[in-house]
């Protein structure tokens, strides 16, 4: 039971709902495609509030910082966008996945 509660308190979708209820603006990032040894499977969520709080993960921690920064922008523009991360993709993104995998992440505004 204790395990259930801690899982719930780190639940990105529940965090997103709670933040919205608090009147905060929120974005949700979701892994929609993976290639190679991606650290988190498709469907994984990272919820981000307008003030930079976040819950969940879309990688092993390698790209979350970049996703949070993009999410703030998504909240401002109120339009979804797709981000792509890969270890060799230095031209598009400064951050990469150290595992060598590639992921695509959909970031969308909530509410």
């Amino acid at each position: 039971m204790v395990q259930d509660m801690s899982a719930r308190s780190h639940d990105p979708l529940q965090a997103a709902e709670d933040w919205l209820a608090d009147g905060r603006k929120v974005a949700l990032a979701t892994v929609i495609e993976t290639w190679g040894s991606a650290p988190r499977p498709t469907g994984s969520h990272l919820a981000i509030s307008e003030d930079g709080d976040f819950e969940g993960s879309v990688s092993g921690g390698c790209v979350e910082g970049a996703v949070v920064a993009e999410a703030i922008d998504v909240i401002e523009t109120d339009r979804p966008r797709v981000l792509e991360f890969g270890v060799a993709d230095e031209t598009a993104w400064r951050v990469g996945l150290s595992c060598g995998g590639r992921i695509r992440v959909l970031v969308e505004p909530l509410g």
């Binding site: 039971m1 949700l28 929609i32 498709t42 979804p80 909530l110 509410g111």
Partner: protein
């Protein structure tokens, strides 16, 4: 994703109901489909497929690439009987990633000494299950060998449509069980959902091996659930 969809999704997850979100890259999540209410079209079929697999994925529906995310409730594995087989089964189930809990009204059997780190209910199944009802994402194995304890749990499992129902006992024992369940008003199809004698037929020769057979049978039932509805 609209706030209302997020709230419905969280409600479905809290009530242990399967759900699928439908998203496009341009709009994000635009629709929520709930288990048992799938539309009878290409989208409904694609959503049912990801729900069964428990794995998100992209599907081409009517010429549009859609991202379908599956929200499958975690499996609850309820074992009736704090017996030797359960002692072997509990750590095996945990190693395989399944949370197991044990119900046995016999206080001498259901002791933390015999079952360290396992959720134990030293109470009658009907009492425990009335406060924590079974559901379609619950597996139930009744292995006390005592109809007084096993039968109420099996009846609850049939009524809740548990994805796996197994019962220990020889064919002869199961024959008498079928008579009792028939008297209780269950038809052949419902009773046929009970796997008995319990466990995959691997020639298990001791409690540890029976535990392997039960765990494998439960996993197979989970991973293959709903396949018959494809036909």
């Amino acid at each position: 994703m609209k706030k209302s969809i997020l709230e419905q999704l969280n409600e479905a997850r809290a009530s242990r109901r399967g759900a699928v979100t439908v998203a496009s890259e341009e709009e994000g999540v635009r629709q929520l489909l709930l288990e048992g209410e799938m539309p009878d079209d290409a989208l409904g079929q694609a959503a049912s497929k990801v729900l069964r697999a428990g794995k998100a994925g992209t599907a081409d529906v009517d010429g549009e690439a859609l991202f379908l995310n599956a929200y499958v409730p975690p499996v609850r594995f309820v074992v009736i009987g704090a017996v030797h087989i359960s002692q072997a089964l509990a750590p095996m189930a945990r190693a395989a990633g399944y949370d197991l809990e044990i119900i046995d009204p016999r206080g001498a059997f259901a002791t933390p000494d015999r079952f360290p780190d396992v959720t134990l209910h030293a109470d009658w199944p009907q009492d425990v299950l009335s406060s924590r009802p079974l559901d379609a994402y619950t597996a139930l194995a009744a292995i006390t060998h005592d109809p007084k304890i096993d039968d109420p749990a099996l009846i609850a499992a049939l009524e809740a449509n548990c994805f796996y129902i197994g019962a220990l006992g020889s064919r002869k024992t199961h024959g008498r069980r079928i008579e009792r369940l028939t008297d209780a008003g269950f038809g052949q199809a419902a009773i046929g959902r009970i796997d008995a004698p319990i466990g995959l037929d691997i020639g298990a020769a001791n409690p540890q091996e029976i535990a392997v057979a039960v765990l494998a049978q439960m996993i197979a039932a989970f991973r293959k659930r709903g396949m018959e509805s494809l036909v």
